[in-house]
């Protein structure tokens, strides 16, 4: 096989150079990170807010995601209906997403669109309208989105397992919110949430592409400088108490296929164990990398992954996947399995738990550990293959983890050894740290 072995001692002799953007902090507190990448005549602008579903109190779940929707519906300076067209006119791409820690908006377009993108994001930060009729119309859109998700048994199970795994931390509720809260939400609730969290000091603006970085920062200041600083929202104080025993749940509904999920409480991105957990996930289910925006859209290299070999190659599962994502607070390592036709889901449950117990008891082989690290080395290159992806990574890590964390990760991953993985597996895969959920077709 004409593949050289990993470089001795450090398999992450980096094929990927972390970006090194220039930084400017405006007087109102907005941090601007600008980075030149001259590979295409394009610019990507991302505006990040430190608000996600974890920042929602009980009764107001889904507010962050609904606010994201409303922030496409016109501002004092952009009539409703023109928001997306302003970027489409440049052939641009636009989107936004909300998750547990963050809300973000993106435009990628030709470089002549830069000022239009900055204007749009500045408007979005400060001057969205929240027309009462538009809020009401969006209620059914969002409930439709929730119900579309419920059509998928796997998504339904994911929501229930997550809610069971957490007792105290707001990571327990789904980003889209609970149906009752969505019915009760008012226009003023949404506008209040927007005003509390969409302030310059709670945001990071990222500009990457075919631009002069210093000039891009000045262009950002012209658009965002006049926005008042506002008051920083209070941080989330809740912490999840240590889980004291295994948790189980079962959903029985009409369906064609059985699904199984195992969720283990897992370290946040700044935890010293994060890199070892990342390697453990890669060894069990294949390396996804670190880019929430791109890497989860394609299959992971997993043919030699421990759970794939045991369960998919063994004919017990049609598919297995793992999700371990960088998060601000400790979240979950989620293993998802689709039972093969004819495999009782109880049998699949026993098999996956036996595999996890074996890894807990015996750790991983050095070969499995090195393969996982090598896969992660490759993913770090491939997941930064466009200015949109590079900009996402700069903003994501700044928002969720803080300065310097992204650049340090290749080294942290390289430093992981089999003993680290064994220790983390023993701790994190323990029965008392697990929630097991089953979807059983009626």
């Amino acid at each position: 096989m004409p593949i050289p072995p990993p470089a001795a001692g450090n398999p992450l002799v980096s094929a990927w150079a972390p970006p090194d953007p220039i930084e400017a902090v405006l007087d109102n507190g907005l941090k601007v990170l600008a980075h030149e990448v001259r590979t295409a005549p394009l610019v990507s602008v991302w505006c990040w807010y430190r608000v996600g579903s974890k920042d929602e109190p009980p009764g107001f779940t889904g507010a962050s995601h609904w606010v994201e929707h409303m922030n496409f519906k016109g501002t004092a300076g952009i009539p409703a209906g023109e928001f997306k067209e302003r970027i489409d006119r440049f052939g641009g791409f636009w989107n936004g997403y909300t998750w547990i820690d963050q809300t973000t908006y993106v435009e990628t377009a030709t470089r002549d669109a830069l000022d239009a993108m900055l204007f749009l994001e500045a408007e979005r930060m400060d001057r969205c309208l929240y027309d009462a009729e538009a809020c009401e119309a969006e209620r059914t859109v969002i409930i439709s989105e929730l119900q579309g998700g419920e059509n998928d048994p796997e998504q339904l199970l994911d929501v229930e397992v997550t809610a069971t795994a957490f007792k105290a931390h707001p990571y327990r509720h789904p980003t889209i919110g609970w149906l009752g809260d969505l019915h009760a939400m008012t226009r003023d609730d949404l506008y209040g949430h927007y005003r509390r969290h969409y302030t310059p000091g709670n945001a990071t603006l990222v500009i990457v592409g075919d631009v002069d970085a210093a000039e891009a920062c000045r262009a950002a200041e012209r658009r965002f400088g006049p926005i008042a600083a506002g008051t920083p929202p209070p941080p989330v104080r809740a912490t999840e108490p240590e889980q004291t025993g295994a948790r189980e749940l079962e959903i029985v509904r009409e369906g064609a296929t059985a699904y199984l999920k195992v969720a283990c409480h897992a370290p946040g991105v700044t935890d010293p164990d994060f890199a070892a957990m990342l390697v453990l996930d890669a060894a069990l289910t294949g390396a996804k990398g670190l880019n929430l925006w791109s890497s989860f859209r394609g299959p992971a290299p997993q043919r030699r992954a421990r759970l794939y070999r045991a369960l998919v190659d063994g004919g017990h599962a049609a598919a297995v996947s793992g999700a371990f994502v960088p998060t601000a607070h400790p979240f979950l390592f989620m293993i998802s399995l689709t039972a093969s036709a004819g495999t009782p889901v109880g049998d699949l449950r026993e098999r996956v738990l036996a595999e996890l117990d074996d890894v807990r008891a015996n750790g991983l082989s050095p070969e499995d550990t090195e393969r996982a690290k090598r896969q992660l080395r490759t993913r770090l290159v491939l997941e930064n293959d466009s200015i949109t992806n590079v900009a996402h990574q700069i903003g994501f890590f700044e928002t969720v983890a803080g300065p310097g964390v992204l650049a340090g990760l290749p080294g942290r991953i390289a430093a992981v050894n089999p003993d680290d993985v064994a220790r983390v597996a023993s701790l994190r895969l323990a029965p008392a740290n697990r929630t097991v959920g089953v979807f059983r077709p009626a």
Partner: protein
């Protein structure tokens, strides 16, 4: 390609065995995108053997070119590579990205996967079981059920476009290793294969590597001409698929449009963009989602195809809104056929299509997809330079004519799946 700042223009090589290679050197990353496409897809499934192309695609990386399934897995996982194997009605494509340092090994393996998959009895049994699970999942998804039913209404159950692309549990159960090997021998040939390499690799090195990997591959001819689409139906048809346990209804509402080679193709693209894509779902999205708040998604898609491909409107709505949503689609479809496109919509659509070209050519994988598309539809290697003018030259009259030819609510094929009543 003109969309990139770096690298020379693509190089096209045709080998003695008929295989085509396209190379675009681009050294912005230490990586290479590999795409190998064979003109053999679900349309080639034999009657009664529906699902053969799809099942074969699941077998390509399960042993190939004398390597066992385990050896293939070892190589792929060591390189951190996960090939995406896609099957359309006319093409099977294996695509992956790898580090430049691994390109020789990965390219050789991907070519072996296409040229000489093992299709061992044991692997066929395993992957057939996974496909059966996938088919059962499809049967449980309202969106999939609605789209498949709409395609059957448009093209007829016996036409390759009207059949389920992954077959059924019954047809897949009857496909064994022998039938898969026969299917491969009949449809996978070098003259039907295009290899595209984009990234940190020079054309001479790419040519030498592909020659090493495929030199011994011989036999087969070009793919047969596809079966034409049936004439557009004379009447509206509607099929309801009750799935009472589901939370939401999916609607698929469609027409047949034009082949990729039709002079009206770009007018149809603009028509579809205005109807159901621009902004957040074009006119349909503005009506159904933005103004009426009925759906999380509402829009349309137009598929480039060697025959008259489908233009499908899709929406997900609450059960109580089905009739209102379909009435809204009827209204927008008929309005478009009657009034055509406004000058502002036409200008916006053209700016979007021209302006989005650099974005589609931003990554190695994007360039590889673009080049495969150029080869499949014989568009030429200068297509990226020609397409802006092709788009800009479309007139409002041509879009209106495309709409009159394509859109008519009284000829629509409509499928509804979810918590709805049977017809």
């Amino acid at each position: 390609m003109t969309g990139r700042g770096a690298g020379p223009a693509p190089v096209r090589v045709e080998f003695d065995n008929g295989l085509t290679l396209l190379v675009q050197e681009n050294r912005t990353q230490p990586a290479v995108s590999i795409s190998v496409a064979v003109s053999a897809g679900a349309a080639a499934d034999p009657p009664g053997g529906e699902g053969a192309a799809w099942l074969l695609s699941r077998l390509l990386d399960r042993g190939a070119g004398g390597r066992s399934a385990g050896e293939v897995a070892d190589l792929l996982d060591l390189c951190g590579v996960s090939p995406a194997v896609g099957v359309t009605r006319h093409t099977t494509t294996v695509a992956c990205d790898c580090l430049a340092e691994d390109v020789d090994a990965v390219l050789g393996l991907v070519c072996d996967m296409v040229r000489a998959p093992a299709c061992s009895d044991g692997e066929v049994r395993l992957r057939r079981g996974q496909l059966v699970t996938r088919l059962r999942q499809d049967e449980d998804r309202p969106a999939t059920r609605a789209v498949e039913a709409a395609m059957a209404l448009l093209y007829g159950d016996a036409h390759p476009y009207g059949r389920r692309p992954r077959g059924s549990v019954d047809t897949v159960a009857a496909i064994d290793a022998g039938r898969l090997r026969d299917f491969h021998a009949a449809h996978f040939a070098p003259a039907r294969t295009t290899v595209v390499l984009v990234g940190a690799i020079a054309a001479p090195a790419a040519e030498a590597a592909v020659a090493r990997a495929t030199d011994e591959w011989r036999g087969g001819g070009r793919a047969a001409e596809p079966r034409p689409a049936p004439p557009p139906p004379a009447a509206r048809r509607r099929r309801m698929i009750p799935m009472p346990a589901k939370a939401q209804v999916d609607i698929a509402y469609g027409f047949t449009a034009v082949p990729r080679s039709d002079p009206a193709f770009h007018a149809c693209r603009i028509m579809n963009l205005v109807l159901g894509e621009y902004g957040i779902g074009g006119r349909l999205g503005r009506s159904i989602r933005e103004r009426q708040g009925m759906a999380y998604y509402a829009g349309s898609a137009f598929e480039a195809s060697p025959i008259a491909g489908p233009l499908l409107v899709r929406a997900g709505v609450a059960a109580g809104n089905v009739d209102r949503a379909i009435a809204s689609i009827d209204h927008e479809v008929d309005r478009f056929a009657r009034d055509g496109v406004t000058a502002g919509e036409l200008a916006d659509a053209k700016r979007y299509l021209v302006g989005s070209l650099p974005r589609s050519l931003e990554t190695n994988a994007g360039i590889a997809r673009f080049l495969q598309n150029c080869e499949q539809f014989d568009l030429g290697l200068d297509y990226d330079r020609r397409v802006p003018e092709l788009v800009r030259s479309v007139t409002a009259g041509q879009v209106a004519e495309a709409a009159r030819r394509t859109l008519a609510s009284d000829r629509a094929a409509i499928a509804v799946a979810g918590p709805c009543e049977a017809e």
